[in-house]
Symmetry: C2
Subunit: 348 residues, 2 copies
């Protein structure tokens, strides 16, 4: 039972695969930071029963034909499956595993980091890096930004979520001790608010308010706004010039979902004006990444902090994703449960 593995998945995941003696593992022998060579993959996948892929490996008719009728499962070490032709996989009656949920906590951590950096870093890191700390004398309001936390119980803070799924709720949990008092969210306009869940969350976190609002109110009222909705055409540039114009001068914007939700030009323009609005932005994703060079308007903008799509990049979470990918494959091949599989019934 040949299984092709497109990258070194680390000891834990490889251990799970090796524990099944029936499996004959063929692992991409190239360096970790190179996607499996397409020609290597097409040659080696022939006769395989399963394949473990990454976001970097296109799963299409070409690959599936190369594997042939022996193939029973495709397991991707990723939450997204934009790289997988669902129709091609479903039509062949294959199973498809993916790795949702396990990265919730890591992404929520990063959301808090970016919210803080967007208001507090203010170029401070670059100044120290450049060796010019000594040129900045202390001044009463030097390096200042808006404060994420409240400084007294009489103050309020509104957290906004564009998209209010698992990651947003894990982020909210972390925000509570900072003194967040109000929570607003926007979601799929077609789906009604889940008032039972909302009431439960409001009570659990002792909030004065938690409710679904339209985009305009979300933009206008949020002190810190997290973009955590799926990508795709329906959310394309949802954060645009009009949205940004509504935001507070003291607000910060965080995007840890997909770059396409934020209009980069409009954000750079909003941050670069004399009275910036919002105050700052923290981005894990940028439209067109990784082709985001030093001349990109957001890279040049000092009020914008960018990290290179690292929201799930912790040893614990990537190990959990790799082991989940391994269990998905093993489950499909040995008639054990698959922890996370994509429902392909509509394609079969």
């Amino acid at each position: 039972m040949k299984v092709v593995v497109c990258r070194n998945l680390g000891e834990d995941a490889v251990g799970i695969l090796k524990a099944k003696k029936e499996l004959d593992l063929v692992v991409w022998p190239g360096p970790d930071d190179k996607a499996a060579d397409r020609r290597w993959l097409l040659e080696n996948v022939e006769g395989a029963v399963g394949v473990i892929v990454m976001l970097t490996d296109k799963v299409d008719d070409e690959l599936l034909d190369a594997a042939g009728p022996s193939l029973r499962v495709v397991s991707t070490m990723s939450v997204g499956y934009e790289h997988v032709d669902l129709k091609a996989v479903g039509r062949r009656g294959l199973k498809l595993g993916y790795t949702p949920d396990v990265l919730t906590e890591a992404v929520a951590d990063l959301c808090i980091m970016l919210a803080l950096m967007a208001s507090r870093v203010n170029n401070g890191v670059s100044i120290v890096q450049a060796g010019t700390w000594r040129d900045y004398s202390w001044k009463p309001f030097g390096f200042c930004g808006p404060q994420l936390s409240t400084t007294s119980p009489s103050q309020t803070r509104t957290a906004g979520f564009l998209g209010f799924g698992r990651i947003a709720q894990a982020t909210l949990r972390r925000l509570v001790p900072f003194g967040i008092t109000h929570v607003l969210y926007s979601g799929n306009p077609g789906s009604p608010p889940d008032s039972e869940r909302d009431a439960a969350l409001q009570t659990q976190h002792n909030l004065r308010e938690l409710r679904k609002v339209d985009l305009k109110e979300l933009a206008r009222e949020s002190d810190v706004l997290f973009v955590l909705a799926p990508g795709g055409p329906s959310t394309y540039h949802v954060v645009n010039e009009e949205f940004l114009r509504e935001m507070k001068e003291t607000a910060v914007l965080v995007n840890a979902s997909r770059g396409t939700l934020v209009d980069s030009e409009a954000l750079a323009e909003a941050l670069g004006r004399e009275r910036p609005r919002p105050f700052g932005a923290g981005l894990d994703v940028v439209e067109g990444e990784p082709n985001v060079g030093a001349e990109h308007p957001l890279v040049k903008e000092p009020r914008c902090v960018i990290v290179p799509h690292v929201a799930s990049a912790t040893f614990e979470t990537r190990t959990a994703m790799a082991t989940r990918a391994a269990y998905n494959l093993v489950g499909a091949l040995f008639d054990e449960p698959m922890p996370s599989s994509v429902d392909l019934s509509s394609f079969q």
Copy 2:
């Protein structure tokens, strides 16, 4: 009643002073980012009843003599008063105001940011800044660091605090939803642990353990370690080679107190070795700051994130410090309560 103010304190604080019609304000007319010129200060302070100073303004016999017998209060917009000769102030029977407590929440916010950055930034910000994002292909463990939060309820996380005062406790409050299970702290070896408070905190935050330990155990057990103790000779280089050698390879170190507590050479050496220990560091303060140039070993070390002493740098907190300084001065001059004064009875 002349009052000399050494920097522009912002509208709120100036409003408090101006509301007292008896006061004749003399405000340093230079730019905000320059400390009041010493000569200007010595000339203008003559005959003043009060003076509002910053960390940058030395309060010594020279200044107090220049003011003369009219002087009744010195109010500093700072928590520390290393710049004030307490004996000289106390001997003259003057009152001394300062601004503690009001910066607790801002500093705790920064502690969380630095803890996250120390494990998650991994040079990612510089890579994007340099325009080389496109050169880094995705790999399963690329850009990875240890995760601050737990990923399942079966995991544990130990937060360590070197110094366990108000800021440490405000930081702990923020850490709880990240899944912190154990808290260890070290403090003044002479003072016994406050077991009633510790038990209350353990219950409040639902921790499995909260206790005072020696430095060696603190270094050895902490997954994230916050240095939040006062400066001075008794804590000089308390984080030294020996301390760092005990730390976990997955731990991160945060210093938001005073630069002198951490031996910079030892930390750079510990982070720079083949198997770094701890994993990373986030510093708001560095010994010898702001004379920390591009050639400083910690600035050159990619596992070290440094921000230029901005822990209290939020509009809200600096405004609160400035207004507190104004109220301290007004309180002393008009026999109203002084919100925060230094006890100088031992010098009188």
